[in-house]
């Protein structure tokens, strides 16, 4: 029996992604480093219009100015507060709606077709309606972000619940599980990976939507407003810095969600 487990361990070891191996994980940095070097050389040699392509030094100076004066933190704080409020409202509503759609056949027949039509409407097509109903302030933005987070959570929660393996549901019937027991001890654990995928997508979507909302519902402060400001005043250094921050925040969210997902998979003992 011990041979079985050692074989399993060997199998597990062979599935570790290559990127985690020493030496190889840094290869991904080659392209950005080359790009920055090229950028620096071009700006230095004055080969292109300096108003369109500012030098890396100028961007760095703007960055430190934004950090020191606290403008960055105010903008980032406002954006993140919006993002998380919208994400939270959208996710909770999405979990409830998705669970109802997944569990109840009747509810699904009643609401399912409408929801499927609703989700076909491009997110940004809601902007005119939202701006008329809720103005251009924080309320409008949070409504928009909630919508962005809602859809992936509903779709994945519903799918996850409905794709609970039939054989496992039969096991629950054999041992006389009540409807509640079946939901809590079979359906929910089986659907957890899908539900998590939905929440993970909601986090990313709502961050993308945050920038969109700030760009299209122009009022107040935020990272999106920083970008607009830079573009309006032809401050390419500010625009590039803003883009960098947006990317960095997105990357961080992705990393945190990945980590949480792995933790969860580990807790479930699943190597699916």
């Amino acid at each position: 029996m011990s041979t079985v487990t050692s074989k399993d361990k060997a199998e597990l070891a062979s599935t570790v992604p290559l990127s985690d191996e020493d030496g190889r994980r840094w290869r991904g940095l080659v392209l950005p480093v080359v790009a920055v070097a090229l950028w620096w050389v071009l700006a230095r040699a004055d080969l292109v219009n300096s108003a369109l392509l500012v030098s890396p030094g100028k961007v760095l100076a703007t960055a430190s100015d934004q950090v020191v004066t606290g403008k960055l933190w105010r903008a980032l704080g406002a954006s993140l507060a919006r993002e998380f409020t919208g994400f939270l409202i959208g996710s909770v509503a999405g979990l409830l709606l998705g669970a109802l759609l997944g569990v109840s056949r009747g509810f699904n027949r009643l609401i399912g077709p409408s929801f499927n039509t609703f989700k076909q409407i491009s997110l940004f097509a809601w902007i005119p309606l939202i701006s008329v109903w809720f103005g251009l302030g924080d309320t409008a933005k949070v409504v928009f972000l909630s919508l962005a987070a809602l859809v992936p959570v509903v779709v994945n929660t519903c799918d996850g619940i409905r794709s609970t393996p039939k054989p496992l549901l039969e096991v629950a019937r054999v041992y006389g599980y009540s409807r509640l027991q079946t939901f809590v001890h079979v359906v929910l654990p089986a659907a957890t990976p899908a539900i998590f995928t939905g929440i993970y997508l909601a986090l990313i979507y709502s961050w993308l939507a945050t920038i969109g909302a700030e760009y299209l519902l122009v009022a107040g402060v935020g990272i999106g407003n920083l970008l607009i400001e830079g573009s309006e005043h032809f401050q390419m250094d500010l625009v590039i810095f803003g883009m960098f921050v947006v990317g960095l925040v997105g990357w961080l969210m992705n990393a945190v969600a990945r980590r949480a997902e792995r933790r969860l998979a580990h807790l479930r003992g699943a190597a699916q």
């Binding site: 487990t5 041992y175 027991q181």
Partner: protein, 290 residues
């Protein structure tokens, strides 16, 4: 042992039939089972053999109570079987363990709705881990153990709530020959120890003759009992005993020469070949071919 657990519960099937709606079959209906009469006294080991599609798994699902739409009557200890119940356990071919639960927790699934205290449940789970020889793997997850071990967990889960009848649906079908032989011996030991009724569905004739007090031979279209062969040998059996071999070959002959149903063989020319080819992993088939 209390009187309740010693209660003798005979299983009785009277004219059991099952029809599935199917758009491939003539008339849109497929007769999966037809006129099954079988009386199984408490404590007997009955092996059901048949080619794929003879309805043997469907028969188990009906006894288990997963499917309430059938003709005829199924009674256990005189009472009609309605829905699933703790007195009937099952071991499926695909072990059907919950991947997010450990070995211990998976066995405890069988006790979730049983009337025991938490301490008694812990004790029962521990006893059954010992029964199937999985000490040391209590906290392993299904993906961390081998197929044979997973099937032993499934057997422990099937037994833990002390059913009076354990149904086994090709429990060793997906295992390699060596593991299968070992688990057959283990199952026999458990059956002798627990003294419960066991109904084993299999397509391995040798397995059926090795384990069964009686071997029920089924044939397809519609699924029905062809004959019942009594195996008058004491347990544990010796696979090279001349009597064992004679009974095994006798049962096998039903599948190799379908003389009982020549018209069926004509209607479906591929069927006789298929029936013989289905239990390929069995060594017995190779011997017959030679």
């Amino acid at each position: 042992m209390t009187i309740a657990t010693e209660l003798e519960l005979d299983l009785d099937l009277r004219g059991v039939g099952k029809v599935y709606a199917s758009n491939q079959a003539e008339g849109g209906q497929l007769q999966v089972l037809d006129g099954i009469d079988l009386h199984i006294p408490a404590g007997e080991f009955v092996a059901v053999v048949g080619a794929s599609g003879c309805g043997k798994s469907t028969l188990l699902r009906l006894i288990l109570g997963l499917d309430a739409h059938y003709d005829g009557a199924i009674t256990l200890g005189g009472a009609a079987v309605r829905g699933t119940g703790p007195e009937r356990g099952i071991v499926f071919q695909d072990h059907r363990l919950f991947p997010w639960l450990t070995v211990e927790q998976n066995i405890a699934v069988g006790l979730r709705n049983a009337r025991y205290t938490a301490a008694e449940k812990r004790e029962l789970v521990k006893d059954h881990i010992e029964l199937v020889g999985l000490e040391g793997f209590e906290h392993s997850y299904p993906h961390q153990i081998s197929g044979g071990m997973a099937q032993r967990v499934a057997i422990a889960r099937g037994l833990v709530n002390r059913p009076r009848v354990l149904l086994l649906d090709e429990p060793f079908g997906a295992l390699d020959a060596l593991t299968r032989a070992r688990l057959q011996t283990e199952l026999q030991r458990i059956w002798q120890k627990e003294k419960i009724t066991m109904i084993l569905v299999t397509h391995d004739v040798e397995e059926a003759v090795f384990l069964g007090d009686r071997v029920v031979v089924m044939q397809p279209r519609p699924g029905r009992i062809r004959r019942i062969v009594r195996v008058p040998l004491a347990h544990p059996r010796n696979r090279s005993d001349p009597v064992f071999i004679r009974i095994r070959d006798d049962v096998l002959s039903d599948f190799l020469a379908p003389d009982g149903a020549p018209q069926a063989a004509d209607e479906f020319p591929g069927d006789a070949v298929h029936a013989a080819a289905a239990p390929l992993p069995s060594l017995a088939y190779l011997r017959m071919a030679w």
